[in-house]
Every structure is written in structure tokens, then in C-alpha cells.
């Protein structure tokens, strides 16, 4: 067992931290306030290789291990969780291709992301089917060398800016999850409509839209895996991405902790800095302890993937614990700040809004508990 980052991991951490501190942080409040797309920040992220870090080096990406990706993810989210979500969206969309694509598909559908800043979106969730993936309504009908896709997807990150969409649709609703199939839609084909950007509570820098597919034609060569394999592809993708979303929580919590430590050392009540009041000390101790516990759980869940082991249980532990933890820590940070914490001039209320989303997306905390229970009783 080794509980220290390697020199390379420290270098990755420093690079991501520098980006988060010097590039993201100064503009995080602006993009939160205006809910506009942080293209300049993402351009820099692209140049630094922070986008597409899961794509293997032979297809033009960085090819980081899962553990290394989580180390980077913590820093990104510490900078701004909304920006982090936008950055990771490419990897989420491309994971099905990385995990299940053929060599030809990987060359063709991953390689071009190294050329310039391009976005990809992962399209699974539907208005009537979130965690209940088997209830999917979007259909794919085979016609010769093509599939014809019809349906609607919602809460699609970077959907308004993407040039490639990884879409899940069923070839046969009667087969439930055994009909689900994964496709890659390139560009903006006829029939694909993008709705306006959702006005979200938190993580407002990330672009979130709904998509509708009306007779959108996709060549058979863009089908990832076989017909009916889509559910497995989606689940494997989420097993891979859960450590990252878990680590987003850690980044938010660490930011909340650091702000609270700084503020409580400066702010005085009853003639002394509030950190000298035991009530505040206990809150901050809890924040630090839980942040670190979540980080360790998350490292383990990523490490398992790197060992080629199944991590469904551990990544659900991590995602669920970390998301709930970040919500609590960010809420406590607002409490440490008192009235100022509730005001947008101070940085902590944003953390509270940002944290909330992680309890919801990529499997709610309740769904994570279902998964955990199911795994335990297997």
C-alpha cells in the first residue's frame, strides 16, 4: 500500500492547481453570475491537455490513469465545479468509445479531438428516464447502412457547443435495457435540435441543454458495440466517471474548508478571531476530516479501475459519500461566514449551490445507495 503521490502525480497536481488558481478562479464568479460558456478557460484547458485527458496517447489524448485523473479533477473543481464539469464532459462522452469502440472507431472518432478545441456530449438522460435507464424512450431504427434516431435527451452538458454526441437509444423498447444501443452522432446533422441553455442553480458555467432527435441518421459504423450492448456501455462509463464526480465534491469541499479557515482566522467576535471559539473549531475539524475521508474513498475507487478490477461498489461509496459530504461542508462554510456567507460577494454560497448538483447528477445519492445495497446483497 502506498499513500503518497508519486513525483509525476505531484507534477500533474501542480499543473492542474496552477490552472485552477491562476486561470479559473479569477473568472469563476463572472461565469457563475452570467451563466455564460467559459470558452476562454476551456481553450486554455485544451492547450494544457486538461480536456481529453482520458483519451489514450495513441489517439492524441493524455492517457492518464484513473487515479491521475481524479488528482487533476480535485484541482479543477477546487477552481470552479461548473468549469470542471464542462472540462470532464468530453471524457464522459468519449469513454464509451475508449472502452468499447473498435480500433477504427477510436482512430476516427477520438483522434480529431487533439486537433483543436472541440466538445463532445454524453446523451443518456431523458425527460422520462434518468436513473431508470431501462425506461428509455429514444429509439433507433435500422434502415440499410444507417440507423434513424428519434427522441429527446435532457440535461446534456456542453450540448449547445458540442460537435460530437454519444447517444443512447433503444432498438426495441420491448427488450427494456437489452434493447439499448450506443451511437456516435457527428456534427449537427439534420433533425438534431438544441434547446436553450438551462438556467441552473449552481455549476452555472457549464452549458446544459435539451436535445431533440427527429429522424437523425447515423451510419452503422458509428454504433459503439453491438445492438443491445448500450446499457452495459453506459454502466461501464458511469463506473469510470463516478470517481471523477466524487472528486469534484472533494474539490468543492476543500475550497470551502480553505475559505473557512482563512475567514475564521481573520473575523473577530467577542474580541478574538472566531477560530478561537470551539464551536467553529469543531465545524472546521469536521470539514477537514470528511473532505479527506472522501478523497481517500475516491482514490481507492479509481485505483481499482487502474488494477482492472470492478469498482461499482467502491465508486458508489465514493460518489455518495463525497457528494453528501460536500453539501454539508459547503453549507457549514456558509455558517462559518455567518451573514456574509449568504452574500454573493463572498465565495462560499456558490460552493453550496455547486455542491448540490453532485448529489443529483450521474446517479443521485439515493440511487448510489440502491447500488450499494444491491452490490452488498449480491
Amino acid at each position: 500500500m502506498e499513500f503518497q503521490l508519486t513525483e509525476d502525480q505531484r507534477a500533474l497536481q501542480q499543473a492542474a492547481r496552477k490552472y485552477a488558481r491562476e486561470v479559473v478562479r479569477p473568472k469563476a464568479a463572472h461565469y457563475d453570475e452570467t451563466a455564460t460558456f467559459p470558452r476562454d478557460l476551456l481553450q486554455t484547458a485544451f492547450e494544457l491537455g486538461l480536456l481529453n485527458m482520458a483519451i489514450p496517447a495513441e489517439y492524441g489524448g493524455v492517457g492518464l490513469s484513473h487515479l491521475d485523473q481524479t488528482i487533476v479533477a480535485e484541482e479543477l473543481s477546487w477552481g470552479c465545479a461548473g468549469v470542471a464539469t464542462s472540462i470532464i464532459a468530453n471524457d464522459l462522452a468519449n469513454l464509451p468509445i475508449i472502452l468499447h469502440g473498435t480500433e477504427e472507431q477510436k482512430q476516427r472518432l477520438l483522434g480529431h479531438f487533439a486537433e483543436r478545441l472541440k466538445f463532445a456530449s454524453f446523451c443518456l438522460t431523458e425527460p422520462e428516464a434518468g436513473s431508470d435507464v431501462a425506461g428509455m424512450q429514444t429509439t433507433a431504427r435500422r434502415e440499410g447502412d444507417e440507423y434513424v434516431i428519434n427522441g429527446a435527451k435532457c440535461f446534456i452538458t456542453n450540448g449547445g457547443h458540442a460537435e460530437q454526441y454519444t447517444v443512447f437509444a433503444t432498438v426495441d423498447k420491448a427488450k427494456k435495457h437489452k434493447g439499448i444501443t450506443c451511437f456516435v452522432v457527428e456534427g449537427r446533422p439534420k433533425g438534431l435540435t438544441v434547446s436553450k441553455h438551462e438556467n441552473k442553480m449552481g455549476q452555472r458555467a457549464s452549458d446544459t441543454v435539451s436535445l431533440t432527435f427527429e429522424d437523425v441518421r447515423v451510419p452503422v459504423k458509428n454504433r459503439i458495440g453491438e445492438e443491445g450492448q448500450g446499457f452495459a456501455v453506459a454502466m461501464a462509463t458511469l463506473d469510470n466517471s463516478r470517481p471523477l464526480t466524487a472528486m469534484f465534491s472533494v474539490g468543492i469541499a476543500r475550497a470551502a474548508l480553505e475559505h473557512s479557515m482563512e475567514y475564521s482566522s481573520q473575523r473577530k467576535t467577542f474580541g478574538k478571531p472566531i477560530i478561537e471559539h470551539q464551536a467553529i473549531q469543531f465545524m472546521i475539524a469536521d470539514m477537514a476530516m470528511n473532505t479527506h475521508a472522501a478523497r481517500m474513498l475516491t482514490y481507492e475507487s479509481a485505483w481499482l479501475l487502474d488494477q482492472g478490477q470492478r469498482n461499482t461498489l467502491q465508486s458508489s461509496y465514493a460518489k455518495c459519500f463525497a457528494a453528501d459530504m460536500a453539501m454539508k461542508v459547503a453549507t457549514d462554510a456558509v455558517q462559518v461566514y455567518g451573514g456574509y456567507g449568504y452574500i454573493k460577494e463572498y465565495p462560499v454560497e456558490k460552493l453550496m449551490r455547486d455542491a448540490k448538483l453532485i448529489q443529483v447528477y450521474e446517479g443521485t445519492s439515493q440511487v448510489q445507495r440502491l447500488v450499494i445495497a444491491r452490490e452488498l446483497f449480491k
Binding site: A15, K18, V72
Partner: protein, 265 residues
């Protein structure tokens, strides 16, 4: 063009430096380390020159095995290979310049770029010593006319330029009350000031590539340099703590204090 650049390991400029109670050193615990910021500017300038004129950037550091971290950082920025002079223990500027002289004679670069000073010792000497030891020209405190917000900077145009015949470099130096321009015949020594450029960030692919770039290990013995220090550091101390000041209610009270108590106006 072959450029040798230094990469000293120093305490992070953001960290708080405390002197040990017995004055024998600084408290190391909890300190973070970085490449000397002036050296990082040197690496950046070297990379820009090589991008324009071809060639290679060789980065050199002196210290224990931990300095490989700073060498890797420079390699991740894009430097081509590294030289590590393995030595632990105190070194003064005479010894450092002596070691760099030998490395320079071995590598035969066209240009050596160093930070004008390292932010730990703040001596501001090594580049000048090295130039004299080598018998080369020197241009210290290299800066540029354009600002760090300019188009030249955004396009990563090197501020140190080659003359038309390619035999000399033209350097704008930050000096008292203005900017002085020199032309140094190559090979030459340049030291960097803060306004020369804004160093690029190490990218993730750069970090991954740096892993396989070579680091050559040398020692003072191999280079034949006696590094016995000629500067003895007898004692370190903290600057006298400032007396707790007072808050004054208004400008009139402030002016009164400045005039009658501090007697500075």
C-alpha cells in the same frame, strides 16, 4: 541554437519563511518548493528562441535528488534534456559558477540563460561570475520594451533577439531609470528579469513526455570543481518584528503622527 538554462530549486515564494530558533537555518517543515521564478522565465525565453531558430534547450540544476523535480518541470515546459549536478550541502556562488562553468564547457551552448537571482539567497551573482569565468559577454536583467499584455507576449515572441548575422544577441536590460540595450557576441550569458516574459504552464502531455526525457547525472568531483564554501553563514535571524501599530481615526490624526511622532513628513 543550443541554450543552457538553470533551474534552481527554491522555496515557494508564497510560503512563509521562518528562522530556526538557534539561527542555523530555516524551518523546512511544511515548505513547498518550486523552480526559481527567474529561472522559469529563463526556460521560457530559451524555448521561444529555440522555437524560432531551432536547436535545443538543456536545463541544469545543482542539488540533491529532489532537484530532479525542478528539472522535470522544465522538461515538462518543453526543455529537451537535463543535466543534474548531484551535490548535497552548502554551496556559495563561487562554487555554483565554477560548476556551471564546467557544465558549459562540456555542453558548449551558444547561450546560457540564468535567473538574475534566486529568491532564496538573493545574491544576484552567478550569471556574472559565470560570464567572467568563461570570458564571455554578459547581459543581465533582460527585459523587454513591450508589456506582458502585448501581442508580442501573447504570440510568445522571444524578447532576446539574434542579430542579422546570427552571431550576437540583442538584449534590452532593465536598469535604473530606464532600459539599456546591448549586443553580446555569442556565446554569451543572459540573466532574466521579471518582465522578460510570462512562462508557459506545464501541460499534461508535456508532463507525460518529460518522464522519458534524459537527465544526465554529474558530480562536483566528476567536473573537477572544489566546492568548499568561501562564504560562511554564521547566523540567520528574523527581521526585527514591527511594533504593533495603531489605528488612527482620521486623516488629521494621521498627519499629526507622521509629522510629530514619526517625523517623516
Amino acid at each position: 541554437m543550443k541554450i543552457l538554462v538553470t533551474a534552481k530549486r527554491v522555496e515557494d515564494p508564497e510560503s512563509k519563511i521562518k528562522v530556526k530558533p538557534d539561527g542555523t537555518g530555516i524551518v523546512q517543515e511544511g515548505l513547498k518548493y518550486k523552480i526559481n521564478p527567474f529561472d522559469e522565465i529563463g526556460v521560457e525565453e530559451g524555448l521561444r528562441l529555440v522555437a524560432k531558430h531551432q536547436g535545443e534547450v538543456v536545463v541544469v540544476s545543482i542539488g540533491g535528488k529532489e532537484v530532479q523535480e525542478q528539472l522535470r518541470h522544465a522538461l515538462a515546459m518543453g526543455a529537451h534534456r537535463a543535466v543534474w549536478v548531484n551535490h548535497t550541502g552548502p554551496l556559495d556562488q563561487l562554487a555554483i559558477a565554477g560548476l556551471l562553468q564546467k557544465v558549459t564547457e562540456k555542453e558548449k551552448p551558444d547561450l546560457v540563460i540564468l535567473g538574475k537571482q534566486s529568491i532564496d539567497d538573493d545574491q544576484n551573482q552567478v550569471g556574472q561570475y559565470l560570464a567572467e569565468f568563461l570570458g564571455w559577454g554578459q547581459a543581465t536583467f533582460a527585459s523587454k520594451v513591450e508589456s506582458l499584455e502585448s501581442e508580442q507576449e501573447k504570440n510568445k515572441v522571444p524578447a532576446v533577439t539574434l542579430t542579422a548575422d546570427g552571431k550576437a544577441v540583442r538584449v534590452v536590460r532593465e536598469v535604473d531609470n530606464g532600459l539599456a540595450t546591448l549586443e553580446c557576441q555569442l556565446p554569451a550569458v543572459v540573466t532574466t528579469d521579471l518582465r522578460l516574459n510570462q512562462p508557459r504552464y506545464a501541460s499534461l502531455p508535456g508532463i507525460m513526455k518529460a518522464k522519458s526525457k534524459p537527465i544526465e547525472e554529474l558530480t562536483p568531483a566528476k567536473l573537477g570543481v572544489d566546492v568548499t564554501p568561501a562564504i560562511q553563514v554564521l547566523k540567520l535571524s528574523s527581521p526585527p518584528a514591527r511594533k504593533a501599530g495603531i489605528k488612527v481615526p482620521d486623516v488629521a490624526a494621521l498627519v499629526d503622527k507622521l509629522h510629530n511622532e514619526a517625523k517623516v513628513v
